[in-house]
Subunit: 450 residues, 2 copies
């Protein structure tokens, strides 16, 4: 594959850049048409790469792309999952270059989606192209590329149920995660789930002059802050009643295995420019993000937020709050527990509304599976180092659903790096990872059998 | 004056509407030119009303307007204070009509500034016009109209020091406050001061993916909420060290006098649509807003606040926080105490910046003064009821400064009503109050002597 990449490098980058130029932001209705444009572009790429068929399928939300090449029904079938939708680009003013006009700087592509997930799914399309063109594969290979991952995949599970036969596979292959570092390749063997809610706290029925009413009327921003503060105690435990009921404590052995992954707290703090890490008492940083649930406010707003000052006691305050869950916690149950708890801690003088956004459950992948072993062998050959198993802190909720619908395990070969700052301004993807990812994927097919 | 109003009503409204159409928002630099337009319009109105002279004076910020008519140096001199700047109109979508296109509905003028303070200062200009045209006055009357009240009058005090002789007066007459109700006219005999700060809490140096980092890195929004929550304890006391040191407790007698003002808690709650009032333990609602200091978050923002969901652990969170002060508390000292305290409660893992906005001290006005007595007599004649003394919760910080510079007490004859919702969408001013305010002001000159 190295040779093939060298010969086709410029074309590959042109094709990827075309994908990245499409502002396929799934959460913003203004980009509805861009989603369709992006889906059509992927069909084009799959057909050009050698798929027997590929097409755009409508769903209740944004469309999915499905394409495949069948060789031999007796051979294993791999379903490649990816998503072509991206996160919003706000705060846009912090981008050093246009998020929709990819730019190569210091060996990395800078653009929204450069890594997550356009860059990573593109590696699969090109590894597929190489294998087909060179006659090096006889697995059956399918692609399912969705446009709603960043908003919690509200349509795919239903569509997958209706197209179970089309999607039937032995394993799902996914590149939508990170590895520890270029020097420490790793394979994700578990991910967290997610429950995401939006809350609204209303005090008086109109904005008030804070001089005339301040001190006597409950200020909904102060109330919201108090309620949020109460959600986590001094030991970093989430206080929602029943929140930890389904959390399985890991054995000392499992914790020791995960602790093998190298972690340098000093480097971590320097990378983030923080003077201290923090979190649940009794757990390491890697455990706090890998095997423990957590709660974060993702957004908050209320009152006067413009230039200057305004002495207003506002009518309403809002926050977006999400909880990362561990396997065995049910995201719908947790969203319900949150709502009950949050309502119960509202002080007199305000009314509270909780609206659930998307959610999904976490999952675990057996390290002993043939697919995990093939991936490990492929990556060791490319990186020269045996990859370590790790637990991802992020969530791809749809994979837990798909695992159940298709009865096939997902394998997470992610080539992203922390430095890529996905979801943030200046998202990037190292060219070296793009090329090595393609090589690893191509080798995976060489080593994988049922 | 009743007769004169009846004859000139249409012209009066046209003139006021012209003033209200000018978007003179002092806190937004985009409106810089509108401030000058508005100042010039006021000069025009003062000269037309009969001032000997009136002109726009530049300051370091927005210009002030000064105009006067001198009769007899031996007679009392009254300095009318008002402000022509207005609050921003956000949230604009809640306005039922254009805030800069005044509309009369159900006997009230709806527009930004209809009451605060264009509508109220206009009453003084027209009462002045009437008195001059009819030869009914021989007080010396001066007007000082500033354009920075809503941003804390950063320039007027310095300008006043430089123009002390020009402004010299026996009393300052101000209509920039409310009365209890049309059936319970009242005169403000004290106002609260104000300390206003903006805070910034920074965690990691970039927005992070909340899945990858959530649980291990301090989230600045959660930290800000915790810090804000800690500013007020369960009894409604502000926890800032030294905050109450200079607060003078009122005597039982004083509290009893203020309690004479009627207050219907049921009506109050219905007006605001809240199920409970709240505040500092041991004080009534009127005391909480009139004679006790308080702390309110006026605005908060951080993270993703757009449509949909984004799983971000943000780099930074902000809030605008103001404290209402009582007479004898020094606003600069309080701002300093706030900063020290707020820095001291910051958790490890975040950096905090506190930026002071404007501030001002509170003040008290002697009820036994000839000016208070004249105002009370005038209002009793117009409303048929003796006005009650009240304490205002709002702040006109500049008046405390002017009192000191000019050695003259301010008299607050305010004709606003709670229903006017100043600083909020759909600010209004009752026509009946506009006309009765003019009458009361005209009568004040009849009864006032040194």
């Amino acid at each position: 594959m190295k040779q093939y990449i060298a010969e086709n490098q410029d074309r590959f980058l042109n094709e990827l850049f075309e994908l990245l130029r499409i502002p396929s932001v799934s959460s913003q209705s203004a980009h509805k048409d861009d989603m369709v444009t992006c889906a059509n572009k992927l069909v084009e790429l799959l057909l050009a790469a050698g798929a027997d068929s590929a097409q755009v399928y409508p769903t209740k939300g944004h469309p999915v792309v499905f394409g495949e090449k069948r060789f031999d029904p007796s051979r294993p079938t791999i379903l490649v999952y990816g998503h072509y939708d991206v996160q919003p680009v706000d705060p846009i003013e912090l981008w050093k270059s246009n998020p929709y006009e990819p730019e190569i700087r210091d060996g990395a592509i800078y653009a929204r989606g450069a890594n997550d997930d356009k860059g990573q799914l593109f590696m699969h399309v090109k590894a597929f192209e190489y294998l087909v063109k060179k006659g090096l594969v006889n697995h059956n290979i399918k692609f399912i590329l969705e446009g709603e991952e960043e908003i919690g995949s509200p349509s795919l599970a239903e569509w997958a149920k209706e197209h179970k036969d089309l999607l039937a596979c032995d394993i799902m292959l996914v590149s939508d995660t990170t590895m520890i570092s270029e020097k420490v390749p790793s394979i994700n063997c578990g991910m967290r789930g997610l429950a995401y809610v939006e809350v609204e706290v209303t005090g008086p029925n109109k904005d008030l002059h804070s001089g005339h009413y301040g001190g006597a009327v409950v200020n909904p921003i102060n109330a919201l802050c108090k309620m949020i503060d109460q959600l986590i105690d001094d030991k970093g435990h989430i206080t929602i009643k029943g929140f930890y009921d389904d959390v399985v404590e890991l054995s000392a052995e499992d914790r020791a295995m995960l602790a093998r992954a190298p972690f340098d707290e000093k480097e971590y703090k320097e990378f983030l420019d923080i003077d201290a890490v923090s979190g649940e008492e009794g757990y390491s940083t890697m455990e706090r993000t890998g095997i423990r649930p957590c709660l974060d406010v993702n957004g908050i707003w209320g009152g006067f937020i413009g230039e200057g000052s305004k002495t207003v006691l506002p009518s309403v305050a809002h926050a977006k709050i999400s909880m990362r869950l561990v396997p065995n916690q049910d995201c719908n149950k947790i969203a319900k527990l949150f709502e009950e708890h949050f309502m119960s801690i509202a002080p007199a003088g305000v009314r509270v509304k909780v609206t659930p956004h998307h959610g999904g459950n976490g999952f675990l992948i057996p390290i002993s599976s043939p697919a995990y072993k093939a991936a490990a062998k492929a990556m060791e050959e490319v990186y020269g180092i045996e990859p370590v198993p790790s637990r991802g802190g992020g969530s791809i909720p749809i994979l837990a659903d798909m695992q159940q619908i298709l009865q096939a395990d997902p394998l997470l070969m992610g080539f992203g790096l922390e430095r890529d700052t996905i979801h943030s301004p200046n998202e990037s993807y190292l060219l070296s990872q793009l090329w090595r990812g393609m090589e690893s994927i191509a080798l995976f097919y060489k080593y994988f059998d049922k």
